[in-house]
């Protein structure tokens, strides 16, 4: 029993000492993590069922995000980080019923994120709080899938892309040092991103399962978004012009991952 007690004490001492061994506070590091972002958007779509009109929130920034970041701490407290992420946007769905016509809409995004930021760290061993503040740039596409049923089934897929989304991001997190090189991290992040696509294109159109893209003119298929345009009939062979609109991408979320110090 004496030996068993000592083993328990030794285990407790090792754990307490192990937790106080921090990842090094200076130098280069790499982080790998993933998380989920909740939308903070300001756009809505209506969902109509007869005379009942319902509001459906629309935010392309919500969904799963995977991240890889490279960073460098200039001293125990200040550093810089460059993050690369991929947003697999969650689907926003609505259903409209007008008499015998039923329309199902699905909206989602697929975006690559680039996130340079400044890191402010407490520089503590063991449990080390930190904060980040920086820019976020996004490039990718927005997808709108539409299916409406009325004396047949029509399916359409529209992609919006072009241009860059720009915004700011911040985070507050904690690192749990496991060894000199390795640490876990958990952070609450916030992204204030706005994206205005430059073009829209119908990429698929089927009626009762048969391809029907050839029925669409260029004007039906393509739309160009601009800051200003002259409203005149340019014919069916030219894309339609519309004013640019900002699409909500802002989000707040939680990220978890590991950090490796070189």
């Amino acid at each position: 029993m004496k030996l068993g007690n000592i083993k328990k004490v030794a285990l407790a001492a090792t754990l307490s000492l192990g937790l106080s061994v921090a990842a090094q506070a200076q130098g280069a590091y790499a982080k790998l993590g993933a998380g989920y972002q909740f939308g903070m958007g300001s756009a809505t779509v209506t969902q109509t069922t007869g005379s009942q009109i319902e509001r459906i929130k629309l935010n392309y920034g919500k969904g799963v995000v995977g991240n890889l970041a490279l960073g460098y701490m200039f001293n125990p407290n200040i550093g810089a980080e460059l993050g690369f992420g991929y947003l697999a946007g969650a689907k926003n769905e609505s259903k409209n019923v007008y008499g015998n016509r039923v329309e199902d809409d699905t909206y989602y995004s697929r975006m690559l994120l680039i996130q340079p930021s400044i890191v402010i760290s407490a520089g503590k061993e063991g449990l080390n709080p930190y904060a980040k503040f920086g820019l976020v740039a996004a490039k990718g596409k927005l997808v709108h899938e539409l299916e409406y049923t009325q004396n047949g089934v029509a399916e359409m897929e529209i992609e919006q892309n072009g241009g860059w989304g720009l915004g700011l991001q911040g985070a507050l997190g904690v690192e749990f040092g496991l060894s000199d090189q390795l640490a876990f991290f958990s952070e609450l992040s916030m992204s204030n991103l706005s994206y205005a696509p430059e073009r829209s294109e119908v990429v698929a159109y089927r009626y009762n399962g048969t391809d029907a893209m050839h029925y669409l003119t260029v004007r039906d298929r393509e739309t160009v978004y601009v800051d200003s345009y002259v409203d005149s009939n340019k014919g069916e062979a030219m894309p339609r012009e519309r004013l640019k609109e900002n699409v909500p991408f802002s989000s707040v979320g939680i990220n978890l991952g590991v950090k490796y110090n070189f």
């Binding site: 300001s42 009109i53 509001r55 407290n77 916030m190």
Partner: protein, 298 residues
């Protein structure tokens, strides 16, 4: 923090505690103490209360598009130019006072109270009717007046005269958004004033800044702030309507309530019979700003 063992080692023994068992209690205490002091660096520094006064200017990050148009209108066809104007109600000056408390040299909390004096945003459209030699003008202006509540967690490096810091927290906004539409065509004019009110804006805020110590009690600071915010009003209400200078409030539906779900009746032509409800809207107020201020420690 306290460490407790899940097994009562004394309960397993049939014999009373021996001297080495009493030593084990000391070792247990030593482990607990070691564990506790492994976090000592986080909690060993002096606590500190402070008050901050600051002013900042914010630029919009997202916006609702408004159209500023111009051109000629003919009965046989028209050529008009449409220009996008971004409307963001968070743009403008923010005046802040904040109370803060540092638990130690690195971590603290802050509660900010701010006033947003939103910048007046305008659009103007002009259309010329060459067949009648008249011009139609449509002018629109809007601005916000909001009170902001800003609780936040503060992280600072805790040493030196020049200290970087960062904040992350929530943002609540209460207030009103005002708008005015003025239309004129030949000898006719119409002016309608309205406001969005009720409800609240909810979002998050973060900031990164630098503090410069002037003396033991006073610091000056500069910070970049990001507001991630949208405002969902409860109602839109016409507060004034004039045609050719005469009051015409009786002609207009005065109030529209916003909700997540409502029922709309239609007449035989498929037109809504009465518009007093609409689905809830979120007005964009996300911004980035630069601010300066003074901090008094006590």
């Amino acid at each position: 923090m306290q460490v407790t063992f899940s097994v009562n080692i004394f309960a397993a023994s049939k014999f009373p505690p021996k001297p080495y068992m009493r030593n084990f209690s000391f070792l247990k205490l030593a482990c607990v103490t070691t564990f506790f002091f492994s976090f000592a660096a986080i909690s060993s520094e002096a606590q500190n209360k402070y008050i901050k006064l600051s002013g900042s200017y914010h630029l919009g990050l997202d916006s609702n598009p408004a159209n500023a148009g111009s051109g000629n209108i003919n009965s046989g066809g028209s050529t008009t130019r449409n220009e996008r104007v971004g409307i963001n109600y968070g743009k403008g000056a923010v005046y802040n006072v904040a109370l803060g408390y540092m638990f130690n040299g690195n971590i603290g909390v802050e509660m900010g109270l701010g006033y947003l004096k939103g910048r007046k945003l305008t659009t103007e459209s002009r259309y010329y009717y060459p067949e009648y030699y008249i011009t139609e003008t449509n002018n629109y202006e809007t601005y916000s007046r909001m009170t902001l509540l800003q609780p936040a967690v503060v992280l600072t490096t805790g040493s030196g005269k020049l200290k970087p810091y960062a904040k992350l927290g929530m943002l609540l906004a209460f207030g009103t958004i005002y708008e005015k539409q003025y239309d004129a065509l030949y000898d006719l004019s119409r002016e309608i004033s309205a406001e969005y009110s009720g409800g609240y804006g909810f979002g998050f805020q973060s900031a990164a800044g630098l503090t410069l110590q002037a003396n033991e009690n006073i610091d000056f600071f500069m910070e970049f702030t990001m507001h991630n915010l949208s405002y969902a009003p409860e109602k839109w209400m016409i507060t004034g309507a004039k045609e050719n200078g005469a009051d015409m409030m009786y002609k207009y539906e005065r109030e529209v309530s916003f909700s997540d779900e409502f029922f709309q009746d239609y007449n035989a032509k498929g037109e809504p019979t009465k518009i007093t409800e609409a689905h809830r809207i979120h007005l964009p107020m996300s911004t980035v700003g630069l601010g300066f201020g003074m901090k008094v420690n006590f």
